[in-house]
């Protein structure tokens, strides 16, 4: 979770081996190194090329060859030269040697599924190494060391926009290695675990191999600690309940042996009642029996009643205490849930945008709901059950062995079968349930995507397709459930059979011992009832491992959220700029969302306070990206953004965002009233202000025509208002907070031209004294802009006033011309 991503799989020689067959984890060999052990053969060959005293500084192996097979080639770098060994034939190597002084440029060509390291000299160029994306971090490091060795670094940063290599051959030069800033790098390789390098199952988002269950579970205890004052009494209560629960068979034994049998036999043989050796309980029974002394059948019947009373008493006691204990633990469990959920949600809010881009909403939601409740179950029940069941078994064994150790030994014979069987079935079951769980998840995924997308489904008449897709899934669930049912229906009878065989053994062995006069009927009955009670605790104990794994995985999924540091965060000494004037300067800013493709490629410009800047450019040129950097949804990978002369990374996020008003390209409204949505930007905004900003956004007129006016509910995501209305509401929201920097990203793209010019008129006065960035494809929108910046493929293409750019006759001029032509056609 911490540190650079995609640092997986170093120091691994046979890449394919890790996919198939047993996962191979080499702990401690995962350090990113550019000085690998060079095979002797190559070392010898290299030695021949080196001068005296020349030392190998960098030695990196690839995992791909130029003939497109997996294999290891080598790149060695000394302080004088580069040597590439590329295997040709079975054993031979092509050796290429380039002197460092002749190197003019080193670049990494990012291809599809693999990269190539290319070196250019003044006369020619060499492709020295080819490697798969897994080795990206290693080679990035190697190249930056190489640059240092060849003193190329300065030359390189001189003109970042050189863009050699271009789009040709599908390869693209990446000006910068986006991996520079550690936490900052968004995306990256989340498909592999950073610790062990194994692929991470996408359903869990967490490496299953690396979950250190014990550690996580220990950490989970932290959440239980504040409730120890309830947990400990509940635990003691549980022990008491478990103990009391194994007593009834002893009572029935007493009932049979000491009361019923003697009476029965006495009736038939006239024997005296045998002496009991049953200490205290007998004493109690005596006293109780004494109360019934006047009963017709004398003392014995009194004993019977006494024991029955005790049986009832024990039952009532267990029931009562169990429910009290259940309530206590429910309280603990719910408290743990609440704390975990609140903490996770709070942290989720602190996390930066990239975190949410990498994971789907459904996954995150299930972590906060599903996984947390699994943890609650584990804390509240799981652990105590395990201890409790162990005690139950211990209690039962103790009693059985103390009453009749020989029979006890016999009784325990089927238990290993029970254990093996349960473990075996448990494994099968968990596999089946795991599959089922995923299938159910698929159903929610399909619902989550088609219900909000219902318009698209209907518009393209794909209902039938969606229905059949859905019914495929329900069929899968059906088969899964039937598999589970098959196992389940098999498991029960088998279990019962084993238990039954146990009781047969007791009948057999016990019966024989009764013949021998070595056993009483009561003890036989007692053993029979224990046999019946054995099943449940054994079962839960066998499931223990499974429970631990599940709780561990859930804990990891929850803690992953808690452990992710926000990639955009306040520095400790961040300044709280209370009054931003609005001067903005971009200094050679590079940014990439995924470190594969640059979205901004060395952007530099300067904006005066109060200036209105129009941002123009083709779709995908990086306009919204530029704005994302100003609002610090992301931080640049390289270069700086200065606001009023402060590096934006040094400004406190809250202070910055309080003074920046944004209308996003894709405005989002919360389910609530219009007034609430407008007021969202300024807690406690008065109605006066809300109306005023709605007026400025030209929204007031349509709002008061709704029967509910400003109290109209806009529905989920603002679904009940039109696109243009939604935009105007969000403009009002941005204006309301009276921002120093106002950003309008295609803010009026969905309204008609007349409404747009009304909005502009209203805004014209408002934008005075504020720095405004307005993005628009409809160039007329930008008629009030002081200056225009034209972006093209992440770079500043042109900059200047409308007149200047027209005079320049470049990109902007041609865009303008096309639009006027278009409008002429329309006018006609």
């Amino acid at each position: 979770m911490h540190g650079p991503m995609s640092s997986s799989g170093r120091g691994r020689s046979h890449r394919m081996g890790s996919f198939n067959g047993k996962p191979r984890r080499k702990k401690g060999n995962n350090e990113l190194t550019t000085k690998e052990e060079v095979p002797e053969l190559l070392q010898k060959q290299a030695q021949g090329l080196l001068e005296k005293g020349e030392e190998i500084k960098i030695a990196v192996s690839t995992d791909l060859r130029f003939d497109s097979t997996y294999g290891k080639d080598w790149l060695l770098v000394t302080d004088k030269r580069l040597i590439a060994f590329n295997q040709s034939g079975v054993l031979g190597h092509d050796i290429r040697e380039v002197s460092l002084t002749s190197v003019e440029d080193i670049e990494i060509l990012e291809m599809y599924g693999n990269n190539i390291l290319k070196v250019t000299t003044s006369e020619n160029a060499f492709e020295l190494a080819r490697y798969s994306k897994r080795l990206t971090p290693k080679f990035n490091l190697a190249v930056s060391e190489l640059e240092k060795l060849s003193a190329l670094k300065d030359a390189d940063s001189g003109d970042g926009g050189r863009g050699r290599g271009g789009p040709g051959a599908g390869g693209r030069r990446r000006g910068r290695r986006g991996n520079g800033g550690n936490g900052t790098q968004p995306g990256g390789d989340k498909s592999r675990c950073e610790k062990c390098g194994e692929p991470i199952p996408s359903w869990s988002g967490v490496c299953v191999n690396c979950v250190k269950k014990s550690k996580l579970i220990f950490r989970l205890f932290k959440y239980a600690v504040p409730f120890l004052h309830v947990i400990i009494p509940a635990f003691l209560l549980m022990l008491l309940i478990r103990f009391v629960a194994v007593l009834p068979p002893i009572l029935s034994k007493e009932l049979i042996d000491n009361i019923l049998m003697p009476v029965g036999t006495a009736v038939s043989t006239n024997q005296a009642l045998p002496e009991t050796s049953w200490g205290q309980l007998q004493g109690i029974a005596d006293t109780l029996g004494g109360w019934f002394g006047s009963m017709p059948l004398g003392g014995s019947f009194g004993h019977l009643i006494a024991i029955i009373f005790m049986m009832v008493g024990l039952r009532v006691f267990t029931m009562g205490t169990s429910s009290i204990r259940g309530y206590m633990m429910a309280w603990v469990g719910q408290n743990v849930t609440r704390r975990l959920q609140n903490e996770t949600y709070e942290h989720l809010n602190a996390l930066s945008i990239d975190f949410f881009h990498e994971r789907d909403t459904g996954n995150l939601m299930s972590r906060i709901t599903h996984d947390v409740s699994r943890l609650r179950d584990f804390v509240a029940n799981g652990l105590q059950d395990i201890v409790g069941d162990t005690f139950t078994i211990l209690f039962m064994c103790t009693f059985m062995f103390s009453y009749h150790w020989k029979l006890a030994l016999w009784t325990l014979i089927p238990i290993p079968c029970l254990i093996i069987f349960t473990i075996f079935f448990g494994k099968k079951m968990s596999k089946v349930y795991h599959v089922l769980w995923k299938r159910y998840a698929n159903i929610s995924t399909i619902l989550a995507s088609t219900i909000p997308g219902v318009r698209v489904v209907k518009a393209f008449a794909r209902e039938q397709y969606e229905i059949s897709r859905f019914s495929d899934l329900t069929h899968q669930v059906f088969t899964g459930e039937m598999n589970a049912a098959k196992l389940g229906t098999l498991y029960r009878p088998m279990m019962e059979f084993i238990t039954y065989s146990g009781s047969i053994i007791i009948w057999l062995v016990g019966g024989w011992q009764i013949f021998q006069g070595d056993l009483t009927l009561g003890i036989l009955f007692m053993f029979q009832s224990y046999m019946m009670q054995f099943f449940r605790p054994v079962y839960t104990l066998c499931q223990m491992n499974e429970r631990f794994i599940r709780a561990g995985t859930s804990a990891e999924r929850v803690f992953e959220i808690l452990d992710t540091p926000p990639s955009v965060a306040d520095k400790r000494d961040a300044v709280a700029l209370a009054n931003i004037r609005g001067a903005i300067e971009f200094k050679d800013v590079y940014f990439s969302y995924d470190s594969e493709k640059d979205a901004l490629n060395g952007v530099s410009f300067q904006v005066q306070p109060g200036e209105m800047i129009g941002l123009v450019g083709h779709s995908g040129a990086g306009k919204s990206t530029l704005i994302n950097l100003i609002t610090r949804f992301y931080d640049p990978n390289e270069g700086t953004i200065e606001i009023d002369g402060h590096n934006s990374k040094e400004i406190r996020l809250k202070a910055l965002r309080q003074q920046v008003g944004v209308v996003l390209q894709d405005p989002f409204l919360f389910a609530g009233t219009i007034a609430e949505n407008i007021g969202y930007s300024k807690p406690g905004a008065s109605r006066h202000e809300i109306i005023a900003s709605a007026k400025a956004a030209n929204a007031h007129d349509f709002i008061i025509k709704f029967p509910d006016g400003y109290d109209t509910m806009v529905g989920e995501r603002g679904a009940r208002v039109s696109g243009g209305e939604r935009q105007r509401i969000s403009i009002a929201r941005a204006i309301l907070k009276n921002p120093r920097i106002l950003i309008l990203d295609e803010a009026t793209s969905s309204v008609d031209t007349e409404t747009e010019s009304k909005i502009q008129e209203a805004l014209e006065r408002l934008v005075q004294g504020r720095t405004v960035f307005a993005i628009a494809h409809r160039l007329s929108t930008l008629k009030y802009a002081d200056r225009l910046i034209v972006l093209k493929e992440g770079e500043v293409d042109e900059m200047g006033t409308h007149e200047e750019l027209i005079a320049k006759d470049g990109t902007y001029a041609s865009l303008c011309q096309k639009q006027t032509e278009l409008s002429k056609i329309r006018a006609w």
């Binding site: 008061i704 400003y710 009276n738 504020r770």
Partner: protein, 169 residues
Amino acid sequence: MNEAIKVADELEFLDASKVSIGRNAFEELVVQLPDGTIHTKVEPVRSFPVSETTRYISLLDNEGNELGIVEDVKKLTPNSRDVLTEELQKRYFMPKITKINSLDGQFGVTTWNVETSQGDVEFGIRTRYDIVTLESGRVLIKDADGNRYEIENYNKLDPKSIALLQTQM
């Protein structure tokens, strides 16, 4: 650099003391604005029909254009105030529910039998989304025909009504 304008300062309300609101022979609202212009068939509209019933009343002319906003009905001259209040009461009918007698639910449609400030009534509700509970305990209800009802504070109803209401929320 000149200071940025505050949005709120951009909004001007009608000068309440100089507005006069009356009725003509056709029972239409006639408004004389501070600038002296006279408009007939004026429609008063509440900006916040739910949360603010006597403030921010927008006056629309017969074409639906806004003539101005009355910030507070109380600031008007007594005559105008009475006319406007009466007109608003006519336009916005939202009885207050004081007691719920019974609720009958079948397949999503619930029939409510209630006592309101304006008398007893029975109405049907189609979805539970037509019942909106605000934080203050206020409940807003829209029935199947589009009629509105409100409960000022559901915590203050009698226990039986509360129990019935809770089944719907």
